[in-house]
Point group: C2
Chain length 568, copies 2
């Protein structure tokens, strides 16, 4: 068999060849860090294509598709071209299959033309997919060399349903080897960078989606999340996302790492430049009754009542709890400012904002991280051994790494080296996890005494990550995100602001919680982060997807209103 | 520390002393096998107490309680007395706490008297609980000597909710050591026998509930089920039950064996002499929003739409598939007759009945059984070691065992001796399980081509066990039940008929599937089983509790109608 490096080089070359020659652009100089304006500057996109791709409200795109104002072929072409630009700037794609996507778009256009009817709630919409969502006839490389040449003979359930909904899957996007990193780099396709600043990571593991969507190379993407993999890239790239609860959306048939690990399940969710995209995707998939195709999918219809916030006083006067600091890693100044803005915006909109008291945060984190390596790394070893590629031990670049101050992530000290646990030991970790979930639930319920609404706090507002996007290899924090995976809380991410060097000054040092907190403190440099997006999480209860989306809409509207008022 | 045998004897003596002296009856001769009429014969119950306790429709009891026609004190007293009779005949109880239950009943009566309002949907109703449902101030012995003296400092979530619903928890009921037997015997409280024939088992692991409810010593009981533990005793004792899907009803805070085993979760469910009891319990608990107290509970409201069979054509013309034989163990003649009766009754009621084709039944069973012992028996060993009691290796009685023909259950040959699996091995078992669930779901969905209703088969009718209650120590079959735990299908059991020696002749031998099938064939003897109840399962989809209850009502009505027509 060819050695793994040669196979990677061949596959990468094949990827390059799958790009239509006329879509290649003149690459900007490598020292141009912010490439967000290249799609407009490069000349590849027509005025109409720019108009289409800069329509961030997915509902509007769908309306124009349904009314035939835009055809699926032109929408798909526009986003495809922009995705190819994104690829040349950030290396965000894996599978590129232009002809296949356009053929599908043409068919949908024909059906609409002939019948006058759309082919489903996502008619004609191009959708990008993280490199886990198996599609018949394509490889599912998923960051492992061993995936090269493995062509799928069926679609994953999500893809089946997307077809039923009338969507046009059009690209697949990059992931890290093992999927268990908050950055995106692997031996086959290489590293994905952040289009706001290519010196910084786009996050991970759904980092290909993050970079692609930031640059508007897709109107709607699908990623996955086991410890923050939807939310970290969404926060770093200025996007909206939803981490639904376990099995609310159908994972069946998608490739995965740690397959069979069911203690803290990976979930899939949408990423988009608008909350409307998040809602439309979630509702469309649930309305398709995924439980008829995926035996693990929760049999729970989309609830308009829950979306209307029946359990939250109709949304009239909500009470939010802000998690200013989880007691493990203190957020950087831009995050604190983002929370302050959100607090003022919500109060201005008539809602109540209290402080959230973190509860056993580090214990919960440690339990999850211990479970993730309870196979002692066996899954990674076997996946690498299939091709002979080495396990990637760091996300630091070989050359040009940032002068780093973090020698060892705190998680390694907490959990120790991966140990292969017995089943009985795993069951004990589950007992501990259940006790933690009960304790956290009771803690949340007990806030009813503080809110004055007659209800406990409706949702928690929290950083997704303690900082905006960091230099490659330095993203160590999943303390804020993993809480939600462990507790199975439905959680969104929404963009709030951008780092502003004139506002976000370094704070005086605090009493550090641990060496990582100190390292993260020391990393802060307003110049390094200037202009990067800053997003926050909205954390709701387990299986409360409808309410979390609705509350995110409320927060989003409040922020827009507040910004309008305060800039005028 | 006192040796375990002495502790057991002391605890058993304490149990005896907890029975009011005036409720002790003259024990019938030990060779009287059917004791079902003793409650009427023994003279302990007044005419009114007999009337109360023989009211099997729980809805009627609740109406009489709500209208103050019956007080909770008199209803609780009547059932308590009958439960104590049941205890003296079948050894079905563990915790007996008469004063506490009557105090609670008095309080409820007072509230109703003073406010004119009931205290919840289960106002005043005595409810029996399997010896897992922790109650503050009581021990939770759960079949292990180590449980003696361990007094709970809080209620399990189910008990909390039962209190909120106005119920009166009044006894706890016997279980086998380890909970992982289809019979009921442990060192502390001994063996529970079947009141229809004390030579036979009441089943297990919710066997205390089975015997108690059969003799009408409780209007409603709560058991649990990981491989058939609700359904086996319900079938052997002529009861209705519901095995809901994982976490639809709140297990949090209940004691359990194999705690932390989440691959195939144990679930709790109601057992009763009427399907109305099953519905009332399930709806009441779900309406109490268990997800606010139990972090694992599914956030899914009770759906009247699903109960009205919105997904099953409104229930007008259903299509059932009968599993005559699962290809592992052929059912005994009374079971085949019960299925024939059910088929004819359903057809007479206008429904369609097809044959269900079993699908990978043995593979599914083997996967589950392998998971159940993936700790290599560590949980059992540790639980026994706490007190020094030995692990119970057989349910055969020390004396007077039936002449048995089964040397070794087939499961032992299938799975081999328990092996302590690593986490990675467990994950591989999960992968296998997921593939099996997908395959079984697709198989079920594919029946749409055969039904003529435009829908797949609405529910499967199947034996719960291949036979009626068997002599102690001989219940080896959980092949029919475990399917539903592995696939997480919501499943009911309903009574159909009784073994009739004049009708249920031995069949000629078939080509045996395995040595256990042969042994079970040879066990059949119409005289041995004569008069025993025969029940069947109704198997629905995952999280389809509402529809399964509704379809069981339809089957139940069809059977009553059919029996009326055919006996007139």
């Amino acid at each position: 068999m060819t050695d793994w490096k040669t196979r990677c080089a061949q596959r990468k070359q094949a990827q390059l060849e799958s790009i239509p020659k006329e879509w290649l652009i003149n690459a900007p100089p490598t020292d141009r860090m912010n490439v967000m304006d290249i799609p407009k500057e490069c000349g590849l996109l027509s005025v109409r294509e720019l108009e289409i791709t800069e329509t961030v409200d997915v509902e509007v795109i769908l309306q124009k598709l349904a009314s035939s104002e835009w055809s699926s072929v032109e929408v798909t072409t526009a986003f495809y071209k922009r995705a190819i630009i994104a690829q040349q700037l950030t290396n965000c794609l894996t599978e590129i299959f232009v002809e296949r996507a356009l053929k599908r778009a043409r068919e949908l256009d024909e059906i609409l033309k002939n019948t006058g009817k759309v082919s489903g709630p996502l008619h004609g919409l191009p959708i990008s997919l993280k490199d886990q969502f198996t599609m018949k006839g394509l490889e599912t490389i998923m960051g492992y060399v061993a995936g090269i040449g493995q062509y799928a003979d069926s679609d994953s359930v999500l893809v089946e349903i997307l077809y039923e909904c009338g969507a046009v899957p059009f690209v697949r996007t990059n992931v890290p080897q093992t999927l268990m990193w908050g950055e995106t780099h692997n031996h086959v396709f290489g590293r994905t960078v952040n289009p706001y600043n290519r010196y910084l990571t786009a996050g991970g593991s759904s980092g290909g989606e993050g970079a692609l969507l930031a640059i508007k190379g897709s109107p709607l993407g699908v990623g996955t999340d086991i410890g923050g993999s939807l939310r970290i890239p969404s926060a770093f790239c200025g996007l909206y996302t939803l981490r639904p609860s376990y099995e609310r959306l159908p994972y069946c048939g998608a490739a995965n790492a740690l397959e069979g690990q069911e203690s803290i399940s990976s979930v899939l969710g949408p990423m988009a430049n608008s909350i409307s995209g998040v809602k439309l995707f979630t509702k469309s998939i649930i309305d398709a009754k995924p439980w008829l195709k995926d035996p693990m999918a929760v049999r729970k219809e989309w609830s308009d009542r829950e979306f209307e916030l029946a359990y939250h006083g109709g949304g009239k006067k909500l009470c939010f709890g802000i998690m200013w600091d989880n007691g493990v890693v203190r957020p950087h100044p831009p995050l604190l400012r983002a929370m302050s803005i959100t607090k003022r915006a919500l109060e201005a909109a008539g809602h109540i904002v209290l402080d959230w008291e973190p509860h056993r945060h580090l214990e919960i984190y440690k339990n999850s991280e211990t479970i993730f390596v309870a196979d002692g790394g066996e899954d990674y070893r076997i996946s690498c051994a299939l091709s002979g590629e080495p396990l990637i031990e760091t996300m630091l670049p070989d050359e040009g790494a940032h002068e780093t101050t973090l020698e060892e992530p705190y998680v390694k000290r907490l959990v120790g080296p991966p140990q292969h646990r017995t089943t009985y030991e795993l069951w004990n970790l589950h007992k501990e996890k259940r006790e933690l979930r009960k304790s956290h639930l009771d803690h949340w319920e007990s806030t009813v005494s503080r809110t004055g609404t007659g209800r406990p706090i409706d949702a928690i507002i929290s950083p997704a990550v303690a900082y905006a996007a960091v230099p490659h290899g330095l993203n160590s924090d999943s303390f804020y995100t993993t809480l939600c995976n462990a507790m199975d809380y439905a959680t969104s991410v929404f963009p709030v602001t951008f780092v502003d060097a004139t506002l976000d000054h370094r704070h005086p040092p605090h009493e550090f919680y641990n060496h990582e907190d100190e390292a993260i403190y020391n990393l802060y440099d307003s110049g390094l982060f200037d202009g990067c997006p800053v997003g926050l999480q909205l954390i709701g209860r387990t299986q409360e997807e409808e309410a979390v989306i609705a509350m995110t809409e409320i927060v989003d509207r409040a922020l827009r209103q507040y910004k309008t008022t305060n800039s005028s």
